[in-house]
Symmetry: C2
Subunit: 236 residues, 2 copies
C-alpha cells in the first residue's frame, strides 16, 4: 500500500440511489470518530478528502468504496459546493476536529451520483463510517454539513437524466414488470402517469423487451416480465 498525500481543501461526496418497494433510497453513513468520545448522531453522504495524485472521479470511487464497500460504480459528477460557511454546525466542527489533520481548512466538495441495484452489492462500512444504510429519500433526516442540499441537487440531476436515458437499467432487477418500471419513473419524477399511456410510450422505445415469463406467487393476475436490451438503446 502506497502512501498518498491528502489535499486538505477538496473533498468528494457521493449520493448513491437505489430503488426498493416502489421507493427511491439513498445510501447514508453514520459517521464516527475512531476511538474518540464524540457523540454524533448525524448521518451523512459518504464523502472524504481527495488525494493529490488521483482524479476527482477516482477519488469518488475510492472514497465510496472505503466507506461503504461499494466498488466499480459508475459515478457522475453533479455539482461543486464551495460556500466557505458550508461547515458551520457545531457538530460538524467537533467531528472534523476529531478526525482531520487540518480541521479548520476550507473545503470545497465535488458531488457525485450513481444508481445501483442494491441487491448486487454487499454494504461493508469501514474507515470512519460506523455503518452504511439505505434510507428512503422521503425519510432522509437532517444531515451533516450541507449534505441535504447536495442530495437535493443530485435528485434534480436524476430527474433531468431520466429524460435522456432510461434509468431503469441501473435500478431494477434484470427481470421486471412494467408496473415496477412505472413506479420507478413516478418516484424519480414525483408524478404519476396513466398506465396505458406509460406502457405505450415506454414500449415504443424498443429498448424494453418482453420475456416469455410471468411473475410468480402473487395473489392476482401475474404480470409479464420484461428486461432491458442495452443494444437497442439510442439516445432519445
Amino acid at each position: 500500500m502506497t502512501l498518498h498525500q491528502i489535499n486538505p481543501n477538496v473533498s468528494v461526496d457521493c449520493a448513491i440511489f437505489s430503488f426498493d418497494q416502489g421507493a427511491l433510497e439513498v445510501l447514508l453513513i453514520e459517521r464516527h470518530a475512531g476511538n474518540s468520545e464524540i457523540k454524533d448522531d448525524l448521518m451523512a453522504l459518504p464523502g472524504n478528502l481527495i488525494y493529490e495524485d488521483e482524479t476527482l472521479d477516482e477519488a469518488a470511487n475510492r472514497v465510496l468504496s472505503e466507506l461503504t464497500g461499494l466498488t466499480n460504480i459508475f459515478l457522475e459528477q453533479v455539482y461543486t459546493f464551495g460556500n466557505p460557511n458550508r461547515i458551520s454546525k457545531q457538530k460538524d466542527l467537533d467531528w472534523l476536529r476529531a478526525i482531520r489533520a487540518s480541521p479548520e481548512a476550507r473545503v470545497i466538495t465535488v458531488a457525485y451520483t450513481s444508481l445501483v441495484k442494491k441487491e448486487n452489492f454487499k454494504i461493508q462500512p469501514s474507515s470512519f463510517a460506523k455503518k452504511a444504510v439505505w434510507v428512503k429519500v422521503k425519510d432522509v433526516p437532517h444531515l451533516a454539513f450541507d449534505h441535504n442540499e447536495i442530495l437535493d441537487k443530485a435528485l434534480d440531476y436524476l430527474k433531468h437524466k431520466i429524460y435522456l436515458e432510461p434509468l431503469g437499467y441501473e435500478l431494477l432487477p434484470d427481470k421486471f414488470t412494467l408496473a415496477q418500471l412505472q413506479k420507478l419513473y413516478e418516484a424519480i419524477l414525483e408524478d404519476s402517469f396513466d398506465k396505458r399511456n406509460f406502457r405505450r410510450k415506454i414500449l415504443r422505445t424498443e429498448f424494453i423487451v418482453k420475456l416469455d415469463e410471468k411473475q410468480q406467487g402473487v395473489a392476482h393476475k401475474p404480470a409479464g416480465l420484461y428486461r432491458f436490451d442495452k443494444s437497442r438503446f439510442h439516445k432519445i
Copy 2:
C-alpha cells in the same frame, strides 16, 4: 482594500459567450507574466485561484471582473475539472512559475459560464491579462491548460440549456428580427431549421412579442422587430 488569503488548490474559469454577426463568440485573454521575460502565446479562458473567504460564485465574478472588466454577470457553474495532470504543458508550467506563489500545486478548477450582449460591456483587461478579446468559437485556437476541454463542456451546457429557456434574451439586442434569433439557435445547436417551422414554434411561446417597428437601412424587404417579454416566460 482588504487582504485576502489565496487558496492554492482551487481556481475558477469562465467561458463567457456572446453572439455577433450570426456567430457565437467566446471571451479569451492573452495572459502575460507581469514584467517577466516569459514569451507566452497561448490564449486562455479568464480564470484564477479563489480566495479563502469567498464562495465559488463570488470568485468567478471577481476573477472575471479583474481580468476583463466585466461586472455583474450572472454566472452559472458548469463542471469541475480535477485531473492531477491537467497542468502539464511546458508553457503552462513556465507561466505558473512566473506568477504563482505555489506554482507546483495541484489545482482543481470550477468552470462557469454566462451569456452577454457584448455591446453592453467595455472590455478592460487588467492584472495578468494582456488583453481580452472576443474570438469566434469556430476559430478558437489551442488554449492554455485544459481550457479547450472546458470550453467544450460549456458549449454542451449551452446546448442543453437552450432547450429549457430561450437564451436569446441574454444574447440578442433588445430589438431583434426572427432571422437573428433563428441564427442564434442554429449557431448554438449547430443545426439548421426550416424558417416557417421555426417561426411558428418560437412564436407559440408568447415570450417573444412583435413590435410595431421594422428594420432600417437594409437593401431588401425590412424584417419586423421583436423583443422578449420576460414576464410571459414560463419554463418549457
